[in-house]
Subunit: 143 residues, 2 copies
DNA sequence: TGAAAACCTATCATTTTAGTAGTATAATAG
DNA sequence: CTATTATACTACTAAAATGATAGGTTTTCA
């Protein structure tokens, strides 16, 4: 039940880009130094966020990355789902329909489905804008 | 963000014991065949549950395992926390106080703390009795 | 045309996960 | 008192995931 480094780094990368939204394309080099994350590792993370249409990329001189939408329209759910593949707590839930032949009788599956709902509901409620604003307001999530 | 096999098997083992509560000590052999989980693997899981005081063990002939408390007093949180070590979504939260020197300024930590609250709150609300009763009632968790 | 940036692919060490196997120890029935 | 049944303990292993590093290619723009 741990969020992987890929998920955590993706979130920090996206927050960094949100903090520099409106400044045009931001180079990975800058994010890397600000966030103290290996640029090479960030390079591997970025394609996931691009595939999910959360980032635009620009090659060449003065290139870099930019959010595709304003920070108020990007949720933590989108970011983590894109980086982690899915937020489902058990892998049998990842196939629709569920391929496990026992899934109809499974006594534990509904527990995991309920957990998934709770997690998704929580992450859906937090946008990049919320995160940046909280720095000032000190508002606490989930209370 | 996946629950490990150890956690999932622990839950099934505990549910099985709850279903046979009041029948005295239940041998791992029986749980193994009912749940179709390797007995040898269950043997390795059981010590975690014993350490957390969720199970009593009895050696020798007619021995086996038994819940230490009635199913209504054992929550999914206790079981999974015992099997998984902790349910905290990032490992820096596992030390009290947090040893990360940046934790005071960390912009993402409150998000993970909120997630933890949400998860704990959900699992605290489900007992083994609830799970068994749901088989009959069809009640859905978390709605 | 050259510098700066993203893009792509391969490799690797470490850790975790999931499981097998064998032996030791304890308790009870007969 | 001994055979049986069960837990307890320890070691080992294969496979996968994780977290990274490294090097070369392509694109863009000044």
């Amino acid at each position: 039940m741990k969020i992987t480094t890929r998920g955590r780094y993706s979130l920090r990368l996206m927050i960094d880009l949100a903090q520099h939204y409106q400044e045009g394309y931001i180079a990975l080099k800058d994010i890397s130094s600000r966030q103290d994350i290996s640029k090479k590792y960030l390079e591997q993370i970025v394609p996931f966020l691009i595939r999910s249409n959360l980032l635009n990329a620009n090659k060449g001189h003065m290139g870099g990355y930019q959010l595709t939408k304003p920070p108020s329209q990007i949720t933590v759910r989108e970011i983590l789902e894109s980086a982690e593949g899915s937020l489902m707590p058990v892998s049998c839930m990842e196939n629709t329909p569920n391929l496990c032949e026992k899934c109809g009788d499974c006594i534990t599956l509904p527990i995991y489905q309920g957990l998934y709902e709770v997690i998704i509901n929580y992450f859906d409620g937090i946008t990049l804008e919320d995160i940046i604003n909280r720095q000032v307001s000190g508002y606490d999530y989930s209370i």
